[in-house]
Amino acid sequence: MGSSGLFSLVPLIVFLPVAGLLINMIFGGRLSEKTIGAIASAATGLAFVIAVLLGVALWTGSGETVVVPFADWIHIGDLNVAWNFRVDTLSVLMMLVVSGVGTLIHIYAIGYMHEDVRFKHDIPRYRRFFVFMNLFIAMMMILVSGDSYLMLFVGWEGVGLCSFLLIGFWYDMDTLGRPSFANSNAAKKAFITNRIGDFGFLIAGFTMFWWFKSLNFGDVFSMATTIPAGVILFITIFLLVGVAGKSAQIPLFVWLPDAMAGPTPVSALIHAATMVTAGVYLVARSAPLYTLAPQAQTTVALVGGITALFAATIAVGQYDIKKVLAYSTISQLGFMVAAVGMGAFVAGMFHLVTHAFFKALLFLSAGSVILGMERGHHHLAHQEGHGSPESADREHRQQELSDSGHLEEVFDPGDMRNMGGLRKQMPVTFWLYLIGALALAGIFPLAGFWSKDEILADAFQKFPAVYWLLTIAAFLTAFYMGRQVWMVFFGKPRHAVAEKAEESPKVITVPLMVLAALAILGGALNLPGIHTLTSWLEHTIAGVEAGEFNFLVAGLSTGLALLAIFLSWLLYERQPLAEGQKDPLKKLLGPVFTVFERKYWVDEFYWAVFVNRYVDIARFLANVIDGRFWHDFVHEKVIAGTYNWLSRTVLDLGVDRHFIDAIANGLGELTKRISTSLRRLQNGFVRSYALAVLLGVVVIVGYLLLK
């Protein structure tokens, strides 16, 4: 079959992005911005082509799993991990999403980063962005295409690194461009939180190895039934820790909102569409293990459900356009995790795909809004300033920098309270954003409707408690998206900048249109009754069944969504928010809204309970235990001190000076006295010495003669 030849192309999905990043890294200094962006986009685009080819090969072939051996990696004793590529319907689906959405975001980033690096006055950093992005795509591909848990882990940590690098892309400032450690703190937080998840992953991996003697998916899954259930439960629970870290579930979700410090394309690609869904992928991939451990499934579903609701409530109280989307992402990830936890693997993966479309769309549109605002800000600065536009801008920037101590004086282009009425200034963006928002809210017939309903229908059947959690979360989702759209695009501009906002160029809007089309049509992937995705994934995940379309569930959720949108209209559009006015919800909910706004004080709680305590412990260990105890006390006092005491006091004073010294000094004194008198002989005149020699000769000869 010709398709087997296609399968051998699979390493290219990793090596094309690697080639892209190497080209940009080595030759990028001499290339123009457009070329750099084009190379990076082309590398990702070609990876997409490869993914499509693989999909076609699977589609036309049997659809069964193909393992493509590539290279030996670690081989110690009975541990044998090779870098093999696993091509099956699940991994190809992920590859398509990653490279497809990835390509669009790369193209978008050509335009976005062009403006961003100018706005932030660091043009050389443009190249670095695309190097990191390509690295991310490569790592993500390793993650989804690996044939063993260890290779998955390689990608898992690799994307964590890229996430770190890209969140901290503007590492020398905070989100508003003031010099600060804030962005790099966010990056660090993401990495370390992810590492906590990775710790769980590692423990799961070790347990797996010592029971299965292998980390390959094939070996593990085929042996799973022969292993005690307790072990499987242990493994799956620890995998869940990893999932919670990577997919931002309770209790490790705190890094994702902060991750919005990265440039918007990063938020869209890594922190919405692809990397954060790796946890969902992991659970779906480990389906054979999870189905053997019902308690683990329950735990996963509950974690997902609670996260979905919890994050949705926080999203209601946020003002930053990207923060709302970030909490929305956590919430939607909760939907997916809940779905795969309940065993509705197809529904989870389906939502993963559609969510990638519409959340990427939303983030990128939000980026477009922010860019528009920044442009408006720029114009305003020119009008106020004097001389040439560039110098005015620089002056303005310097003034901003010098004022960095005062938060309120720095304009925040991402704050929704500064926006309003933007649909007139940015019509294209508005329509695109609207599509994304409706899809997320789950309005028929957009993609979100189908995928969310499939999850809800499954939950309704399998896990009522989770069903209710998710339904309320869905209601809140529609509400906060409605709130956002009303606040940003309707009403009157609440800030001079919003009046001057400008529409984004084509390089930004065109990828958005493609994503919008996908957000509208994405539901077609797994329409009820046809179940394309279900039959696609059936080849990989054994025992998936097509969900029944439940009109009651669908009707209820649509109804709730519409109600929520209506409520948000009542609150935010009938009486549009005025400049400086407080959120109307605040009056309504009072302290509850404050709780949402302050994110339940989870960050503060973690800070107080874990971070500060760790810092305290570290300081204590370093200063008190290591410094004062081991170093100053044990070493200096006990060891060195005792030795000194022994040598100085006991031996030197006691034994030496009063006993041995007495003898030695007496002898020494005698010698000294004798020598003092004798040294007079040493007058230094060579002739006296010769005379002495002669005297000696005379005496000796005389002695010999007289003897």
């Binding site: 005149f685 002739r687 006296s688 002669l694 005389g702």
Partner: protein, 175 residues
């Protein structure tokens, strides 16, 4: 009176006289010349003793090379007379006494103790033949070959040592 005896007595007198001249002359150049004279006398003694090789070596090495070196240095330093210095007051009398005692001891040893009455073989017996010279060479280059070679090393070391010693260090002022 045999002419050799007369010769011996004259030579001995000259030798002792020149040594005494060395001892007392204030001028270094004169001292050196006295010594040359002494060396020459001793060379004649060697001839009398049937050692022509040593005699000639004495003339070339001592009277020629070494004494010329001495004279060079004397000329170089220009310090042919020393000013009076306080010196060591008891040095000179003590030295004279000790030297006298030594002389007495040696004379006592020579004439009282050892009783060396054996006469020397007649000079003609060996001077006339080259055999003595040949046997000297044979002994030197067979039995004493190693010491002979070592002397060459010794001379080399002395040469290098002298060069290093008298070489002016870099940057040192001309004295």
């Amino acid at each position: 009176m045999d002419y050799t005896l007369i010769l011996f007595i004259i030579l001995a007198a000259v030798a002792v006289a020149s040594a005494a001249g060395l001892l007392v002359s204030r001028n270094t150049v004169y001292a050196a010349l006295f010594l040359v004279l002494n060396f020459a006398t001793v060379a004649v003694f060697y001839l009398l003793l049937g050692a022509p090789f040593i005699a000639l070596a004495q003339v070339t090495i001592y009277a020629g090379a070494i004494m010329v070196l001495f004279l060079f240095v004397i000329m170089l330093l220009g310090a042919d007379k020393l000013p009076k210095a306080k010196g060591l007051p008891w040095q000179r009398p003590l030295a004279i006494v000790l030297a006298a005692v030594l002389l007495v001891e040696a004379g006592f040893l020579l004439f009282q103790r050892l009783q060396l009455t054996a006469n020397l073989a007649s000079p003609e017996a060996s001077i006339n033949t080259t055999e003595a010279l040949q046997s000297l060479a044979k002994t030197l280059f067979s039995q004493y070959l190693l010491p002979f070679e070592v002397t060459s090393v010794l001379l080399l070391v002395a040469m290098i040592g002298v060069i290093v010693l008298t070489k002016k260090e870099k940057g040192e002022q001309e004295a």
